[in-house]
């Protein structure tokens, strides 16, 4: 197993009347190079789960596994682990504290103890990877940027660790549609060109459903469904019951099928939908 959990449980504030079970026996696994989605209604334990994956939270029961080794066994160096598993928090631009974009992105590599030449290389590469121009942004104040750019800087601030796994918590929360599209295109290229293993927590499925290899659905701290994306998205009824929705184009295709047209319903992106509707038209005209 590259990265995953085995019967992971987590209880917040154990032993008090405020004790809450956030996770109950959650098991899942990802292979190197996967693009996975973690979906679930608010409060389902998504954020708790991903914070276990780089050792920020300790399990109350069960194991977290990275490269076949259990996390929390003493031999695992947390800094080395966090260098390899990058975690981008929700609204990560609220955690900025530096006076220039450069310093903000350099925070992580400096913490690794790299020398300044290497740090600058890492920062340059990270900014380049998120599509921000070095000359334009590196000496600007992070708060002068647009919200979309801030989010990209926040992503670069983790990419500057040069991680192998990238975990993102609601990366598009509060972004406009353009920003969302750009971000997902970026994640796709990080996954496919740079070979990063990507895990995205979200409930905006419109742009991301098409990218995912596998899907994990959480509800009230338990795994409700997990498996290859196409199998999971076929279970539309269960999705709706949880208050989650499939991408809008998928819903449209389901409506067409419900109206008696021979339309495919395993459509998760606009391009696929356009092709399917065109072919449907041709088939009907014959």
């Amino acid at each position: 197993m590259f990265i995953g959990t085995e019967k992971l449980s987590h209880i917040y504030m154990p032993g008090t009347p405020y004790a809450t079970k956030a996770l109950e026996e959650v098991s899942f696994s990802l292979d190197r190079g996967d693009f996975a989605l973690l979906i679930g209604p608010s409060g389902s334990g998504k954020s708790t789960l991903i914070q276990h994956l780089n050792g920020l939270l300790k399990p109350s029961g069960g194991k977290v596994i990275f490269e076949d080794r259990e996390l929390g066994s003493d031999s695992v160096d947390l800094l080395a682990l966090r260098k390899r598993i990058g975690l981008v928090f929700q609204m990560a631009e609220e955690h900025f504290f530096s006076e220039t974009v450069y310093d903000e992105v350099a925070f992580a590599p400096r913490n690794l103890g790299l020398d300044e030449v290497k740090v600058e290389q890492n920062v340059k590469l990270a900014l380049e990877r998120v599509g921000l121009e070095w000359e334009v942004v590196h000496d600007r104040h992070p708060f002068q940027l647009s919200s979309g750019q801030k989010r990209l800087v926040a992503l670069a601030a983790v990419l500057s660790l040069q991680p192998e796994v990238l975990i993102l918590d609601e990366p598009t929360a509060g972004l406009d549609p353009g920003g969302r599209l750009h971000l997902f295109a970026l994640l796709k290229s990080l996954n496919q060109q740079a070979g990063l293993t990507v895990l995205v927590c979200t409930h905006h499925m419109d742009e991301v459903a098409d990218l995912a290899d596998s899907v994990l659905v959480l509800n009230r701290g338990k795994v409700i469904m997990s498996g290859p994306a196409h199998d999971i998205f076929a279970r539309r009824q269960e999705f709706n019951k949880l208050g989650l929705s499939l991408p809008e184009v998928t819903e449209v295709m389901h409506c067409l099928a419900a109206a008696g047209l021979p339309a495919r319903t395993d459509i998760y992106s606009l391009e696929q939908a356009r092709a399917e509707i065109n072919s449907l038209k041709r088939r009907l005209e014959k």
């Binding site: 009347p17 920020l56 939270l57 966090r82 990058g86 609220e94 900025f96 992580a108």
Partner: protein, 265 residues
């Protein structure tokens, strides 16, 4: 981090004590504290301590919370005990080590002071563990009202206090989230010299301040949008009614305290 603030943290419950009017609880506490300082005999003090234990049991709050609340004062108690044992003269000499003596008056007074301290803390814990911070400030606001006549804006002070209390858990949660976020960017808050440690707090403090100011700004706007004006009279969602059972409890407490005073003679 959350463990260290259990002293005085509200524990939800359904007991009679939980449901009493906070004004009544505060008044009862004040009465108890006053009597506690009046009594001079062990009988009366033990009686008051037993009364405290009875009240604790009826509150339904696990006993371990009271023990945890007492823990911080253990050192003070121990210190007081030592001072009294060795430095108060009078009565029979109980122990003699060279020129140091422990005399019976010292032992008696030391035990008395420590028992009183424990009882004081138990009564105070009883109030804070069974009353939400919000109703506590409402209750205190009521007793501060007379200060209005000398020009103190007591309503506003109560409002500031309740907002501050309301945001303590929020800021705690936020600082923990921030800490984890910076940890995942490789931050290290633990090792190094004291200067390094202080410097490592910058990535926590700056964002915390920024968000606190933004939150304050938004809150002010939201309050104004909902009609909050300085000096305007406010009505409350939960009316502050003193019910018959509140009176009954007050009378009961007063009677018990009177009994303690009788024992004091």
């Amino acid at each position: 981090m959350s463990r260290s603030i259990t002293l005085g943290q509200y524990m939800p419950g359904e007991s009679l004590i939980h449901q009493l009017n906070p004004r009544v609880k505060i008044l009862a506490l004040l009465m108890m504290l006053a009597v506690m300082f009046i009594v001079q005999t062990f009988y009366a003090l033990i009686f008051l301590l037993l009364f405290a234990v009875l009240l604790l049991a009826s509150s339904g709050v696990p006993f371990s919370y009271f023990l945890r609340g007492i823990r911080p004062i253990l050192y003070i108690a121990l210190f007081a005990l030592v001072i009294y044992f060795f430095f108060t003269r009078g009565g029979v000499v109980l122990l003699r080590i060279g020129f140091i003596t422990v005399e019976s008056d010292g032992v008696r007074e030391g035990l008395f002071v420590v028992t009183r301290l424990v009882a004081l803390v138990l009564y105070s814990l009883l109030l804070t563990l069974t009353t939400t911070p919000l109703s506590l400030t409402h209750g205190m606001g009521y007793f501060l009202k007379p200060l209005k006549y000398i020009g103190l804006p007591t309503d506003e002070v109560a409002m500031i206090m309740s907002i501050a209390l309301r945001f303590i858990p929020t800021l705690m949660e936020e600082s923990q989230r921030l800490m984890r976020a910076q940890l995942s960017r490789g931050a290290d808050f633990e090792s190094g010299s004291i200067f390094r440690k202080a410097k490592s707090l910058v990535p926590l403090i700056v964002p915390l301040f920024i968000s606190a100011f933004r939150r304050a700004d938004e809150l002010a706007l939201a309050m104004e949008a909902r009609g909050f004006r300085l000096g305007a009279r406010r009505t409350r969602l939960h009316e502050d009614i003193i019910a018959p059972r509140d009176w009954a409890v007050l009378v009961f407490v007063a009677a018990t305290l009177a009994a303690a005073l009788v024992l004091n003679i």
